[in-house]
Symmetry: C2
Subunit: 465 residues, 2 copies
């Protein structure tokens, strides 16, 4: 006793012991049952096979400062809706854009093919779906990723020259990003449907919706998208699968200027009928914000997550425009009507830019009512957000969650934190039917393939100083 | 030992003891510190001097069934906005309405006097505030409670013949209720301001806003107010001091029909600039719902809570149109600009009809962001809702709070539960300046005077079978 009393470890034994429990919860629960004071620490083994790459990247002396710069730019970006323009202003002649990493017609999934067929019909480049398919198969249209042109598109994300796009500027760092206009739910091009009602709606959107929105915006002046997103998070949206508040706030803000057009009532009716109308503006806001964080040497920040219906790809600040991909998973969620998991296409769309920017699945804690759309319990929505703090670099200063005491949303996915914890980003998404022409079949949650992150980590390791 | 082993109390001593702690939390906290299993039960002494009346009312054999009928009607009411009409259609000639229980000019507070002066000027019955005051002091205008005419009005709640009102019908039980149109925040009549800009705005509201809304509603058809309230609760409103979602949803729903009017843009701009625009519709919805529960003999359900800036009054289903009053308190909250508690008038307005119908302070758990407006922490908002379950008869089937697992809002205040627990309803309200002409000075929380409930209890006791 006297020897331990003089030891520096003596205080450890002087009082009641407190136990630090790490990782598995069995020990923690057993101690709780015995009323022992304890401090649980979450810990998971790192992703398999990443140890040496992880060590190299963690040792990169640039990493801390580089991530601070990159995530600082992501948090500081101030997206503003400035214009609505025809895609022809931006697209190279003969090029159609699509969601996700680059893909060929041969590897394209059903909904991606369906949307491309629809866009060919909409552009009048073929008379029927068979003709459209022949044209696409023969390479008569050049395909490229939206992301390569400062564009994002939900689901199939197909953009052809006659479509109109929202133009969002970053008032802080000067970047520009675009997103198509939202068609509504059900049988729509972005979910791979291409029937006559789909094409007719696209024609009306180009002839009426786009020009009326452009003129209204011209009369109104730029719309502060950062402010609408911040408000919508306090109104139960997470800005990916729930955009009811943001859409209502936008309709309220632009409504008076839209009403000045002779087409005002029909345009307001179209917007009002679609709770997802704001999604595309939020996506362009996410794109312009994450783009501000690109190309910081040594940064391990994820600046894009995106799916083409076949591959899930990510891009990282420190590795330029390189894609790291793995197979897209099938979301787990709720299905519409008689549809079920067998009808689901693998994950598709650029809308994961919302999660990349700290919204969507990462902000589900702000949107407990979303569980009625994607499944699960209210506690799951809170748990999703809580867990994302473990793999992100910051909390967003403007995008806050009231129920968490106005804590900022978890923002800025760090490849090293994903690898170290084995926790994958939570994505909250629509589900497309796997057959071309079907449309939406449900909504749910999905995670990216871990390969995308392990590949990115190896590439980062190869570029360390 | 052997004698206790055979006793029926033996199991009590066989295992580890579990303690039931009642009321004061000191014992519970002490036991928690010793890791003793315990079951805390909330208990408070009943309101002083109510014991015999409480016993009589609790023993009334009609009570259970009567309350079931009354609260069932409150929960089942289905408010629908059907028209917008001039108050002259409804008001007896020479009568102005005001909020709260009946009051005379002599006992009226500053903001009530200010609003009455403004209404006289607006009606052209006097040329200046002094003339208006003379007219009112001399009884040249008959004053009566809004509630006596199926009307509710926020704050001073003054309604004069040239003002327009929302008409809300109960699609389930057929009742009708009215509420004035919301003027916006700051220097407005309902907060007791009566300057030229206030009167000019009222003129525009009667000449343009009312008629445009009536025509738009005619083209659109009735608006389902129950549905908007249900959605707004899932979007962070509590429908008394936070109506941002409900206002946005209304603007989105009626926007296309309003846009068909040549005055569409200016009307949409007026609505869009005022987060509280929906409040008055929600109040008429509350009035029509609580009115459905009136006049059930033996029922102890509160069917109105209302303040005139001097008195706080309640009405109870089982006691007809009788008011039970006590002095109105001064709300505790956050003040605008340089205003402080010394500038505050006692509690005023019919807007407590929202709390009477299970919204407002009772639904604050749905609206954590409200604490930025009325003060306190997010946990206070949740605690306010949780505590109101103790004094209410039901949970609303349509008005749900997602973060509480979609639990219905606490609805239907029971006088006996208030008396038994000593817990007073939580009211979430705007604060008017106490000097006539000032306008709004803040927003906060307040409780009714307990006298209103003890008086009501005695009256119920006098009418027991």
């Amino acid at each position: 006793m006297s020897s331990t009393a003089n030891s520096p470890l003596a205080p450890l034994l002087a009082g009641e012991p407190e136990v630090v429990t790490v990782g598995a919860s069995v020990l923690d629960e057993a101690l709780e049952g015995q009323a022992v004071r304890r401090k649980p620490v979450q810990w998971r083994p790192p992703m398999q096979g990443t140890e040496s790459a992880l060590a190299a990247v963690l040792a990169d002396p640039r990493r801390g400062a580089a991530n601070e710069v990159a995530v600082g730019r992501l948090l500081g970006a101030h997206p503003v809706l400035v214009d609505v323009r025809p895609a022809a202003d931006l697209l190279p002649a003969g090029t159609f854009l699509h969601a996700g990493p680059p893909i060929t017609w041969e590897r394209a999934s059903g909904p991606m093919r369906g949307a491309l067929i629809g866009a060919v019909l909409f552009e009048g480049l073929a008379d029927d779906p068979e003709g459209a398919e022949r044209l696409l198969r023969s390479g008569g249209v050049t395909l490229d990723s939206c992301h390569h042109h400062g564009v994002v598109g939900p689901m199939a994300g197909v953009v052809s020259p006659s479509m109109w796009m929202f133009q969002v500027r970053d008032a802080e760092y000067g970047g520009t990003a675009y997103c198509s206009l939202n068609e509504g739910l059900g049988k729509v091009l972005r979910y791979g449907a291409y029937g006559p009602e789909v094409i007719e709606r696209l024609r009306w959107m180009s002839a009426v919706l786009g020009p009326v929105l452009r003129d209204a915006l011209g009369r109104h002046g730029p719309v502060d998208v950062r402010s609408i997103i911040a408000q919508a998070l306090q109104m139960g949206d997470e800005l990916h699968n729930r955009n009811r508040a943001a859409t209502s706030l936008l309709a309220r803000e632009l409504g008076p200027s839209i009403a000045e057009s002779p087409h005002g009532p029909e345009v307001l009716r179209f917007i009002g009928a679609n709770d997802h109308f704001f999604l595309n503006i939020g996506m362009a806001a996410g794109k312009v914000s994450t783009d501000a964080a690109r190309n910081v040497p040594g940064s391990t920040l994820v600046v894009a997550m995106s799916r083409n219906g076949t591959d899930f790809g990510i891009q990282v600040s420190g590795t330029g425009d390189r894609w790291f991909t793995g197979p897209a998973g099938v979301p787990d969620g709720l299905y519409l009507g008689a549809f079920g998991p067998d009808d689901a296409n693998p994950d598709i769309g650029d809308s994961t830019i919302t999660e990349t920017a700290g919204l969507g699945g990462f902000a589900m804690g702000a949107a407990p009512a979303i569980v009625r759309f994607v499944g699960g319990e209210v506690s799951d929505a809170l748990a999703a957000t809580e867990s994302m703090y473990e793999i992100t670099l910051a909390e967003h200063p403007a995008y806050q969650i009231p129920i968490l005491g106005f804590r900022g949303t978890p923002t800025g996915i760090d490849v090293t934190l994903v690898a170290r914890t084995g926790l994958l980003p939570v994505v909250n998404t629509g589900i497309a039917g796997r057959l071309a022409g079907t449309g939406q079949v449900g909504a749910g949650l999905v995670t990216p393939p871990s390969e995308a992150f392990t590949e990115a980590l190896r590439a980062l390791a190869a570029h360390t100083l």
